[in-house]
Symmetry: C2
Subunit: 221 residues, 2 copies
DNA sequence: ATGGAGTATATCGATCCGATATAGCGGCGC
DNA sequence: GCGCCGCTATATCGGATCGATATACTCCAT
C-alpha cells in the first residue's frame, strides 16, 4: 500500500536510502503526504525480506578508496562525490550507517502486480498512486484501472445519495453529505475525461500515432 | 477519532448497542463508511473505561417484566416493543447478550472537547464529522472550525502546486497532481460559501433572526 | 568550542481495518 | 419437521500506519 510507492520510486529514480525516499514522497508527488518513518522503515524491511529490494550498507570505512560499495558503479551520482570529498576534509569514520536500496527483478515483478492490483482496490490514495505510475502499465490495463475506479465511485455516489435522501439530517449534516456527493460527481467527470483521452489514443484507425496522449491533464486549475 | 462519532450518535439518537452504532454510521451518515467492529468495540471499551458511556447488559432474563433496563424510561422506542413482542411469541431465554450504551455527562463534556478539537485537527474525515455535528457547537466555534479547515486546505493547495511545478512529471502523474489541486480548490470554494452563510447568519443587525441558516447546503444538487 | 539545524535510522504505543470465530434466531424450501 | 441460509450481535487477531521519541553524526554560525 506504500510498498507500491517505494518500488515505483526506486524504479523511476534509481538508488535512494530511507530518508530520501521519505523526502521524495512528501515533496515530489503531493499524493501521499505523511509517510512517517514509523511506516517507512518497516515497509523497507518487509520488502527486503521479500527479496523485492536489496540494501547495500553504504558506510564507507576509514580506508580511503577500497570500494565496499561494490557492485553497479555510478549509482549515487554527484551526491556521493560531495559525500566522500567531505569525508576527506574532515576526519575519517565515514558518516552514518545509511542503507541504500535498489529494486530487484523480483521487486519489479511485484511492482507490476501491485500496479494492476485486482486484489483489493478501493481507497483513493492507492488509486492515485497507481494512476501516477500508469506509464508502466500496458494500455488496456490502464483503461481497466480507470474504469474500475469509475465504477467504485459510482457505487459510492449511490450510497451517499441514499444516505442524503433521508430528511432526518440537520443543515450541517446535510451540507456535508451534499458536498460529498458533489465531490464524487466531480471526480467521476474527471475520470470520464481521462477515459475518453485514453480511448481516443487507442483508436483502431490511428494505430501507430505516438504523442497522442499529450492532452491528458485533467480539469485542473 | 471515531469516539467523536460514537458520542455524537449516542447524543443525538439516544440508546444504541454496538451493532446498531455501526449500522447507523455506515448508512446514516455517508461520511465514515467502514467503521469495522475491529475498531468499534475497542473504542466502546475505551469510552466505557473513561466513564464517557455507561453500558447496561440488556439480556432480558426469563421473567417477563421486572425491568433490568431501569433508568431513563422511553429511550428504545418502538424498536424495543417489537423486540419484546417477539420474545413473547417465541420461547424465553431472551436473545443474545447485547450491551446498550448510554452517554454520560462526562461523555457529553468529552464530546464538546472533541468537537472543537484544537488539539490535532487535519484529516478530512475528522473535519466532516465535526461539521456534521456542528449544531452542538456555539456559533463562534463553528466559524472557527470552518476557517481553520480553510487555512489547512489553502496550505495543502500551495504544497500540491509546488509539487506540480516541477516538470519532471509524466502525463499521468501530472493528471493526478492537477486533479488534486482542482479538488482542493473546489473544497475551498465550498468552505467559502459555508463561511459566508455562517457570517451572514450572525450579522449584528439581525441578532434574533432564526431560520436564517436555511440555505447552507453547499453546491450539491 | 558550543550549540542548533539538518541528515539518518530505528523503535514504541495507539489506532484502525479486514478477516475470522462464535452464537442466537427467523424464515425458506422441500 | 428439519436443515440450511442469512441476519443480528459481540469479540478477538494480525497487519498497516501514524505520531512521537531516541540516538547519533555532521555542518555551520556564533
Amino acid at each position: 500500500m506504500l510498498d507500491l510507492a517505494i518500488l515505483g520510486l526506486l524504479e523511476e529514480r534509481g538508488d535512494l536510502h530511507g530518508y530520501e525516499i521519505r523526502k521524495q514522497l512528501r515533496e515530489g508527488l503531493g499524493l501521499l503526504a505523511n509517510v512517517s518513518f514509523g511506516s517507512l522503515y518497516p515497509a523497507l524491511a518487509r520488502l527486503e525480506a521479500a527479496g523485492a529490494v536489496e540494501a547495500t550498507e553504504a558506510l564507507e570505512p576509514v580506508e580511503p578508496p577500497a570500494a565496499p560499495v561494490p557492485p553497479t558503479g555510478s549509482l549515487s551520482g554527484e551526491w556521493a562525490v560531495l559525500r566522500s570529498r567531505r569525508r576527506a576534509t574532515r576526519r575519517g569514520r565515514g558518516r552514518r550507517s545509511r542503507k541504500v536500496y535498489r529494486i530487484t527483478d523480483r521487486g519489479r515483478s511485484l511492482f507490476a502486480d501491485l500496479l494492476t492490483g485486482q486484489g483489493a482496490a478501493d481507497d483513493p490514495r492507492s488509486f492515485g498512486l497507481r494512476l501516477a505510475f500508469a506509464r508502466h502499465l500496458p494500455a488496456p490495463a490502464r483503461l481497466a484501472l480507470l474504469e474500475r475506479r469509475r465504477l467504485q465511485l459510482t457505487e459510492r455516489l449511490a450510497e451517499v445519495r441514499t444516505a442524503g435522501g433521508q430528511d432526518a439530517l440537520d443543515v450541517y449534516a446535510r451540507a456535508v453529505v451534499d458536498h460529498m456527493a458533489d465531490a464524487l460527481q466531480h471526480d467521476i467527470g474527471w475520470l470520464d475525461r481521462l477515459i475518453e483521452t485514453e480511448r481516443s489514443a487507442a483508436t483502431p484507425g490511428a494505430a501507430l500515432a505516438p504523442g497522442a496522449t499529450a492532452a491528458v491533464g485533467g480539469g485542473a486549475r
